[in-house]
Symmetry: C2
Subunit: 375 residues, 2 copies
Amino acid sequence: MKVKYNLLHKEKDTKARLGTLETNYGIVDTPMFMPVGTRATVKGLNPEEVKACGSGVCLANTYHLWLRPGEDIVEYCGGLHKFMNYDGPILTDSGGFQVFSLAKNKKKDITEEGVHFKSHIDGKNLLLTPEKSIEIQNKLDSDIAMSFDECPPASASYDYLKNSVLRTLRWAERGKKVHSNPRQSLFGIVQGGAYEDLRKLSAEETVKMDFDGYSIGGVANDGESKEDMYKAIDYSIPYLPEDKVRYLMGVGEPVDILEGVERGVDIFDCVLPTRIARHGQVFTRHGKINLNNARFKMDLTPVEEGCDCYCCKNYSRAYVRHLISVGEVLGGRLLSIHNIRFLIRLTEEIREAIKEDKFLEYKECFLKDYNSKNK
Amino acid sequence: MKVKYNLLHKEKDTKARLGTLETNYGIVDTPMFMPVGTRATVKGLNPEEVKACGSGVCLANTYHLWLRPGEDIVEYCGGLHKFMNYDGPILTDSGGFQVFSLAKNKKKDITEEGVHFKSHIDGKNLLLTPEKSIEIQNKLDSDIAMSFDECPPASASYDYLKNSVLRTLRWAERGKKVHSNPRQSLFGIVQGGAYEDLRKLSAEETVKMDFDGYSIGGVANDGESKEDMYKAIDYSIPYLPEDKVRYLMGVGEPVDILEGVERGVDIFDCVLPTRIARHGQVFTRHGKINLNNARFKMDLTPVEEGCDCYCCKNYSRAYVRHLISVGEVLGGRLLSIHNIRFLIRLTEEIREAIKEDKFLEYKECFLKDYNSKNK
């Protein structure tokens, strides 16, 4: 089935919205944070652990799975759900972002047909087109697929961005035409940098194509400021239909999730919680801390007092610090669980605040604590 | 409490014995295989996963924990059980083997006092003595501690070995004298290479000191042949009391476990199952296989048909191969679970065979399959 967004409540002082998303694997609540399982695994965690964090949808990566093991193998294995043993909804990105960020030497040749580039693994010449991206995602059999878009850097000129937006619209149309998996939804992506008219153009034309949901892209590519991100959201949201879900791609930090929700975003994803975990960094209500710091050597308290995650319920900072400092992978695993749970718990609290029309109060309170650095 | 070994049944055709070991954390069955948690974690697994493999006792490493995080920190955190959140029996080795195998540039200076060597981490000068080893283990608060012994290489001469055995006896006595943790058992270690008279000397004199259990060491150091290992066991066992448990250190392969049990050994440990797992190698009833092999790319069967471990119940060879080949740590984790469960299941079946006086039949049958290479 195609996903169906149900708008339950609009917060009174902001554009924040409470909703649900009906999927092939049940109904999930929004606003929501999606953990990222790039290569068909959320790094270090098994599916039960991902679910125990309260995750709704899990993300997987088209570019990486195209290269290894290959979409045909995943299809042969019964699709992504069966392959990775995850019986919850899965969203795949289009590979567009990885082509732009991971191509060998960052060199690529963007043509009307698609993007020519070299594999970041073996340097092999590759071509990713809108059709190919959709074909791969059809075979991966995710529940939600993304249109193939260009992800230009923040430094791109207005003229470049305008051409890019127009090309991405043509690519979206081409992808939609070949999309053929009846149980998979397809989302359109709004681009246009921090320019109001380009975001408007991109959003209006994308919406005309009638996708199952809409993403806001180009906010976490390369060098975007937070101001640019907020502008990109503000300039896109007014042109997106109320009855479709909105996904801000590649975001992120707790503050960005709050700013996104305030502006009307429903879904977020980011590799941040697992990436920083492997280096010993964790989110807490009082800001990020780094467990490599010697002051945690004999700290018997959990990573975050009051957190209900598996890591905090069972281990001390001293133990997790030991694991991280000697390079034991259980350390990154425990902190990944905590960081993912932290962001999901943030969205749970956000949903409560929206329900009670107290979003701004909640946001202010959260950020005051988060920025207090009183650890 | 001190561990108490109960001999339940002696197999009729061999020296194999069925027993139980009463520990601070309940009664465990022998023969038994212990997973190795070198740095207070069985690599990649959490304690629940280790227990789900059916593990009785878990091993931790005195040398590694002495260096990082330090025994004082573990003691401050409430001992190893609380530190690593493992509520089953834990055995610590003495650090003797690591000093001999890990010392920087393998250079060490063995004196009557102890062993002078350089840390494998930062090259710092260190001295490990029998007293220090016991003091560290007392603080780690494991359930079973090991006496500090010298682990000479297989190439050592008879004269060298004889002096080494005599020194290890003096070291055992010194360690026993300072041992002061009332809830911790202390095991003596029999050395003597593959020489009958040295093993007899070492065993008889060690037993005179009346330890809570006895280990057979010097069989998995550096270059020992399987014949030497079997000789070492054969020459030691006759001098060990029937009412104490017997532990063959650092072993091993399925065939070695079978040979050890046949000769009267009760406990085994080895890093093999987790080490080979991280490289994609797994035990199966039909021998070891390497999942990196391309023929597993589209293999929808579990790692081992009929295995009851978490990996085999939930994932295909194709998926685990993908994880291993792209370097995702979940791969090593899943295969570690399988390999540990494989060896523990082997000991479960061995216990059944002993109970029914069919050990040799079981051994022959197992080895026929294992060596058939019919995968």
